[in-house]
């Protein structure tokens, strides 16, 4: 078991997501920065879908009750294993009783803890990703315990990844969305030549920005949306839907972020700036 001594600001269990129920309105969920999670799981020679902890802004304090191997990934949060700094994208052996704790957030917004063979929490509709009320809780609470397999020996093919981080990237590559043609020259100019500042309205459902572009009065029939869909509201506000975003929407879908761009945006917090680039 992994004992969650303190849960931190917002810590959840995530895998790749809950697929197959979008026609019933169930968001896919899954790790926001899937690039970081894939790198961590692949270092551990796990399945891509093995469950990890997604740690947002302020980290938890965790105690391992059995030995295993872990990889930290994503945001840099001054993690320490028994008070010794533990770096990202590197395999760490942990022993029974070891304590993993987090300090100051240095870069990025979401950090990941991957464990050999993944966390073995209960699956709901084929996924371990926490999303309330599909799962009983939307995030971990203090003193909860998470099951994992005891692994005493593991000889990894690669023990460390160099330069796996997307944390310093700010350009979000997009493709034209279904309602792209709605945009006039002025809107295109603004969208692709200005910087956008992440608003305080940012979470696993969506990211908004402080800057607006010109609005519109197109009304459209509700249609499917995806993680990474950039919607333009009538008042000119831009909303990028993220992993817990709703599966349908009625706002024009002007551009679509690619998978890497979703990972980059997932590491941004209020007041960070990004720009959009048509791929």
């Amino acid at each position: 078991m992994l004992k969650v001594l303190k849960s931190g600001f917002y810590t959840t269990i995530q895998d790749e997501g809950r697929f197959g129920y979008r026609d019933k309105g169930v968001p896919v969920s899954g790790a926001m920065d899937i690039t970081a999670v894939r790198n961590a799981n692949r270092l551990l020679e796990n399945d891509d879908n093995d469950a990890v902890l997604e740690i947002t802004m302020t980290g938890p304090t965790l105690q391992f009750e059995e030995e295993t191997f872990i990889v930290l990934a994503g945001a840099e949060m001054s993690a320490t294993l028994n008070n010794t700094p533990a770096s990202n994208y590197k395999i760490h052996k942990v022993n029974a009783g070891d304590i993993l704790s987090y300090g100051k957030l240095l870069n990025g917004f979401r950090s990941y803890l991957a464990i050999k063979d993944g966390f073995k929490t209960t699956e709901v509709l084929g996924s371990r990703s926490q999303y309330y009320p599909i799962t009983k809780r939307g995030s971990l609470k203090d003193n909860s315990e998470l099951e994992y397999e005891i692994v005493s020996s593991f000889k990894p093919k690669i023990s460390e990844l160099k330069s796996a981080s997307l944390l310093d990237e700010t350009i979000l590559e997009v493709s034209k969305g279904p309602e792209f043609e709605l945009l006039d020259d002025a809107q295109l100019q603004n969208l692709f030549f200005k910087e956008f500042t992440v608003a305080k309205e940012n979470n696993r459902m969506g990211y908004q920005f402080n800057e607006k572009i010109k609005g519109h009065n197109r009304s459209m029939l509700t249609s499917a949306t995806l993680p990474g869909t950039l919607q333009l509201t009538p008042s000119g506000r831009l909303i990028v839907l993220m992993k817990d975003g709703q599966t349908t929407g009625g706002y024009p879908r002007i551009v679509q972020l690619n998978d890497k761009a979703i990972s980059i945006l997932a590491q941004k917090r209020s007041r960070d700036t990004v720009s959009f680039k048509l791929a």
Binding site: R22, D23, K24, G25, L125, M220, L221, T222, S223, A224
Partner: protein, 245 residues
């Protein structure tokens, strides 16, 4: 069977959007549902592809891979031309019990006043029409229902509530619907439906599909309580009738 002029467009690297003419129309929705079933049964592996129908569109999403757009577009055109005349999708009419007791129907008196009619007349009208499920989204299990009688069209509330209870039945503009979970919301609440239309603990969490039909019927407080308990322990028997039979 009408062949509609469908448009096919890429929607990011993982999805393709197929669109029918931009109107709310029963026949278009049915064509979408039949095409979806045809794709699912004959052409696209449903373990790899998710298909989201809504109003005049069908979005096909490949969960793992980046799609090669041009080949799939050509195939979709061919498949649309070859789709079956036989109805592949089973559609149902679901009869859903609603308790219009004023304990739940917190806006019913106000709505009656706004529409210049009686509470009894609103309930009668709400229950006499058959609604079509044009989409499921916004929240898990939330149905976009079309076919509300004009006499029940009422503006959404000026101030949304921070909390609308699970099962609340609402009216807003041309729409009526049920909140499948507690949520903020601006609809006028006229009743409550206590049966588990959506339940994440079932293998099929949402029994209703896009293209199905819904009719409400009025029940007493005692029946409401009974169905609620039956729903919670998993023995509630849904009242459904197969359409196109």
């Amino acid at each position: 069977m009408t062949d509609y002029p469908i448009s096919i467009r890429p929607f990011g690297g993982h999805a393709v959007l197929v669109e029918w003419p931009n109107i709310v129309d029963e026949a278009i929705l049915e064509d979408i549902i039949q095409f979806k079933s045809c794709l699912k049964q004959r052409f696209l592996d449903p373990r790899e592809w998710e298909m989201v129908p809504a109003y005049n569109s069908l979005t096909l999403i490949h969960n793992k891979n980046i799609i090669e757009y041009r080949p799939i577009k050509a195939k979709l055109k061919t498949w649309y031309g070859k789709r079956e005349v036989a109805k592949l999708a089973n559609r149902y009419l679901w009869k859903l019990p609603v308790c219009y007791d004023l304990d739940f129907a917190i806006d019913l008196e106000e709505v009656a006043e706004k529409l210049g009619t009686s509470i009894e007349k609103i309930i009668e009208l709400h229950c006499s029409h058959v609604y079509t499920v044009y989409g499921i989204g916004f929240l898990p299990g939330f149905m976009y229902l079309g076919g509300l009688p004009k006499a029940l069209e009422v503006h959404r509330r000026a101030e949304p509530r921070l909390k609308v209870v699970k099962g609340a039945v609402g009216l807003a503009g041309k729409q009526t619907g049920i909140y499948p979970q507690e949520s903020p919301g601006g609809w006028n609440i006229i009743g409550n439906c206590s049966i588990p239309i959506f339940d994440a603990n079932r293998d099929e969490p949402c029994l209703v599909n896009v293209g199905d039909k819904i009719q409400f019927y009025s029940i007493s407080r005692a029946e409401y309580d009974l169905y609620k308990i039956e729903g919670e322990v998993g023995i509630y028997q849904f009242d459904k009738i197969k359409l196109d039979a």
